[in-house]
């Protein structure tokens, strides 16, 4: 809705306003000049990879491909071999667990903290902004720090649990039964600040009158939360969850730093599997197959995102 006011009052002196078709076209062209670089960039870095991955998933890549430049088409061989590999099913399952578990934890703790910080108290603002720090540290670095903390024999978490008499010999990252849970817990820690900040922003937008009305009606705190806060927060909740989903489902850094996908593939997800297929085994065809599945999953949720975005009303 740009209010394009008609070509200025008639007496624009210096640049004769000759609005001939030629001039209008030149003007349009100049305007496209502003937008074109970004469009080209995004086509190259987002559009092209999408297309190329589909094509690659039907090509046979070997370590030799990069010397010979030959990657012959091989029909659906990559697809069938990936789908027949038990690891793919495992990775898919881990991805779903990892994403669902991370989102659930991040969201619940994030919401609780947002509500907590929504009350005014001394130093509240400072504390709230300092909590952002974990989110700003490079994810791979966080992963490495946690790897040390979770070390079975000398990590501080087990030392601490030991002092409390709570066992303290948990193989957080080295047992196939525990590793995925540990990775999820670390990712919850990473995601809490992001969830908190956005939800806090949403809480701030809720008109105070609604709370006053609820208080007049004698509603309990829990009742007010359920009947006022949650419904009013719904659009923000949708956005937080969908954005969270799209950034969580593809996580690679954290898992590589914590476990490298191990032990015994216990933390292998679609993201790490794509990486392993393509960049460790140099089978880019297989990597592309897994990557396409990952895109497909994201695309389903992108639909939710766009709908959320639309209801948001811009």
């Amino acid at each position: 809705m740009t209010t394009s006011t008609a070509p200025a009052p008639a007496k624009a002196p210096r640049k004769a306003a000759a609005p001939g078709p030629d001039r209008a076209r030149r003007r349009r062209l100049a305007q496209w000049g502003f937008v074109a670089p970004a469009v080209v960039f995004m086509l190259l870095f987002f559009g092209y990879p999408l297309v190329r991955n589909v094509v690659m998933s039907f090509q046979h890549y070997t370590p030799k491909t990069f010397f010979t430049g030959e990657a012959p088409f091989n029909g659906t061989d990559n697809w069938s071999s990936v789908f027949q590999d038990a690891l793919f099913g495992k990775a898919l399952w881990h991805t779903l667990l990892f994403t669902a578990g991370s989102l659930l934890g991040q969201f619940c703790v994030g919401l609780a903290l947002a509500v907590f910080f929504n009350r005014r108290f001394p130093l509240g603002g400072v504390l709230r902004s300092l909590i952002l720090l974990p989110w700003l540290v490079p994810m791979v670095v966080s992963g490495i720090v946690w790897r040390r903390i979770l070390d079975q024999d000398t990590g501080v978490l087990n030392t601490f649990l030991d002092t409390l008499g709570l066992g303290g010999n948990t193989p957080w990252l080295t047992s196939p039964d525990m590793a995925l849970l540990s990775v999820i817990l670390v990712n919850i820690w990473i995601g809490i600040p992001f969830n908190m900040v956005i939800l806090y922003g949403g809480l701030q937008e809720i008109p105070k009158e609604l709370y006053e009305a609820a208080a007049l009606d004698g509603a309990s705190a829990w009742r007010t939360f359920r009947s006022v806060t949650l419904p009013m927060l719904k659009p923000v909740i949708t956005v937080v969850l969908v954005l969270g989903f799209m950034s969580t489902v593809k996580i690679l850094d954290l898992i590589l730093a914590l476990t490298d996908g191990g032990p015994a593939d216990a933390t292998q997800t679609l993201g790490t599997l794509t990486y392993q297929n393509s960049f460790v085994e140099l089978d880019f065809g297989a990597g592309a197959v897994v990557g396409n599945v990952l895109i497909l999953i994201s695309a389903v949720f992108a639909v939710f995102y766009l709908r959320a975005n639309r209801t948001e009303g811009k």
Partner: protein, 275 residues
Amino acid sequence: MAAHAPTAPRRRWGSTVAGLLVLAVMLFPLYWMLNTALQPDSGLLQVDPVPSGLDLSGFSKALGDQGGHLLTSLVVSFGAVAICLAVAAPAAYGLARFGLRGSRTIVFGTLITQMVPGIVIANALYNSYVDLGLVNSYFGLMLADASLGIPFAIVLMRSFMVSIPGEVVEAAEIDGAGPVRVFLRVVLPMSRNAVITSGLFAFLFAWSDFMFALTLNTTDDVKPVTLGIYQYIGAHVGDWGSVMAASVLSAVPAAALLVLAQKYIAAGITGGSVK
């Protein structure tokens, strides 16, 4: 404030104490990173809760081993910011103001890019980079890292530029300024905050990047600190002191920005995502 009955000051300080506890739990891993870094002798042993002295040898070793990689990170990140702003700022303006046919589709496409997983991009990009000779190059990594910030920057700056009153721009146009001049002299200065926020985030995204560094480099020529640290733990399993010191160094920009540019960070997180 709000609906809560006027709480007694004591209860409000009670919240502060609770808040401090939450903060302590959330920041504990970062404290532990610093603490471990200051005890380089502990190696693979248990680390004391508090360093006994100020042993900086872990840091000096980390600087020796990772100093170059920090520098690489800095160069690549600044390059990525420059590319990002140069591409995104004019586009944001164009999409906010010109009413071009297809603008909506482009904005839509910009939002959609968030769903493309980085590893998928890397998968395809690596192959084209091989063909173009961009593997192991600063420029190649800068371009890839810029892609992390561009959609975000377009969305953020556009939503700001939409609110610039049309009269301001028209007044400049009547004075005979062309679109480029109007953009550089009028629009950009007025959008200063949005530009700074976008630039900061572009920097943080590029600085934190690990995936492109990992996949688009096959030699040691262009190795940012994230990749450096990751490979460090492979090679120095016993030397956690220096690994943690390097980690502390890599976290410095984030911490500095949080302190120095707090309002931009908060604005960026909310503005960029809830749009």
